[in-house]
Amino acid sequence: MNKQLKKVIEYANKHSEYYQTLFLNNQIDCNNISELTFNKIPIMTKLDYKLNVKKIIVDEYQYNHINFLNKITTSGSSGIPLTIYFEPREYTISNLILWRLRKKWYGVNPYDKMCAFTSDLAINGIVMDAQDVYIRGNKMFFSKIKISRESISSYFQHIQKFSPNWLYIQPSVMMNLYSYMCEENLKLPDSLTYIELFGENVSYHFLKKLKQYYRNIDIAVMYGAKEFNAIALMCPCGKMHILDNNVFIETNDNNEIIVTGLVNTKVPIIRYNLQDRITLKENFLCKCGIQGSIIEEIIGRSCNIEYIDDNITSDLLKWIIEKVNYLYSECIYEYRLCSVKENKIVVGIYLNNSYLSWKKIISEEIKKYFRSFLSTSKAVEIVILNNCDVSLQSGKFKY
């Protein structure tokens, strides 16, 4: 059995209240861990993590010491905003695992100039508004909340002027940028040697088109999650290698990816259902020289929220929820897009109990942000939900 995996489980058993109870209730003998005992560990859902994270954190970081942990927020397209905790040194090691491969395969270093598109509300504590451009040191960030021809044209000019070494960009944004550049017969700056696509599924055909158009630029896909950092990176041969120093991967009967973090021992996440569906190939010997598991295909999310209106995607909903949660201290526990019709959008929110008397104010706040992006003919209705179970509802909101 994977030594690091064993170490994570043993440590969780010794120091995490949540896992001590879990292992006891499921008769898992952590002194004698084998593949068989590992497979008895129940699968963790996002909701499990959200409800139990304070008990998942090991004893050393309980109470005030929790402030020493890195906090990463994710709204997530599954509809459950999460706060992910990571011990700082372990977070650095987890990132280093990805950077080693980026350096080896694509020659980039964290200090190289980079442009990135983000739907995050804040960068380094500074709140970004939609269509903001933010520079920090050698990095330039663009908000991707509303991508239009005007914004893409403006971003392209910023990129030209900034002359980055690499681009960190979602496939949907890259599609817009590529279309714009083709129409206008434009080139990316000569300084750019690498494009990394992340955050969304990429079709083989689109990737092939990009590689043909940007001949002198390496293009790769990175698959990851905020809970774990990078899970897989595409090598120059085009294969998605699992970062098996960072994560242990399995799939269930539905091909859903089940992830165990191998680095984050202080806030262990064991057998976590990421709700993406993949096909995995084990022990693959690649021409790049690496032998190990690869992701053959990312089929898609088990729960997918697609387009809301014209070019506005679910990133907008995520961004609005994150903004309202920022203003009202995590008031929204869970959310989902209940329906999208020609003239009406219905958003369901599950409020934190302390905010139930504020439901009208919070609903108006959400509507206000929506109105600034949507056409005036579209009404927005906010429904306060009484009970949420994302795992039962997954896959039910396709449009």
Binding site: R89, T92, I93, L96, W99, R100, N109, P110, Y111, N138
Partner: protein, 95 residues
């Protein structure tokens, strides 16, 4: 590989990496990188990645501490340790 040569190469790596910061190469050898370079996790990763690529080593997780990279001499010690481990591994026929 001799210590002086490793040291010189490390100084060149760091000065190239942070050339935009305008460091005087002559004093880089004596600078506390945590205070002088305001080392954060990005800086740390940058140095580790370059050192590993240049010397063809991989620093194990238990050595990945800011304290082990706080000055050029510390970095040289880490490199020498890993190079020695590597050569002992080769001598013992490990792949």
């Amino acid at each position: 590989m001799k210590t002086d040569i490793i040291k010189q190469e490390v100084i060149e790596l760091i000065s190239e990496l942070f050339k935009d910061k305008g460091f005087d190469v002559d004093i880089l050898e004596h600078v506390n990188l945590i205070d002088g370079l305001e080392m954060d996790s990005i800086t740390f990763i940058s140095i580790v990645v370059e050192v590993e690529a240049h010397f063809n080593i991989e620093v194990p997780d238990d050595m990945l501490l800011f304290e082990n990279f706080k000055c050029v001499d510390d970095i040289v010690s880490v490199i020498e340790h890993e190079l020695l481990k590597k050569s002992e591994g080769i001598e013992n026929g490990e792949t």
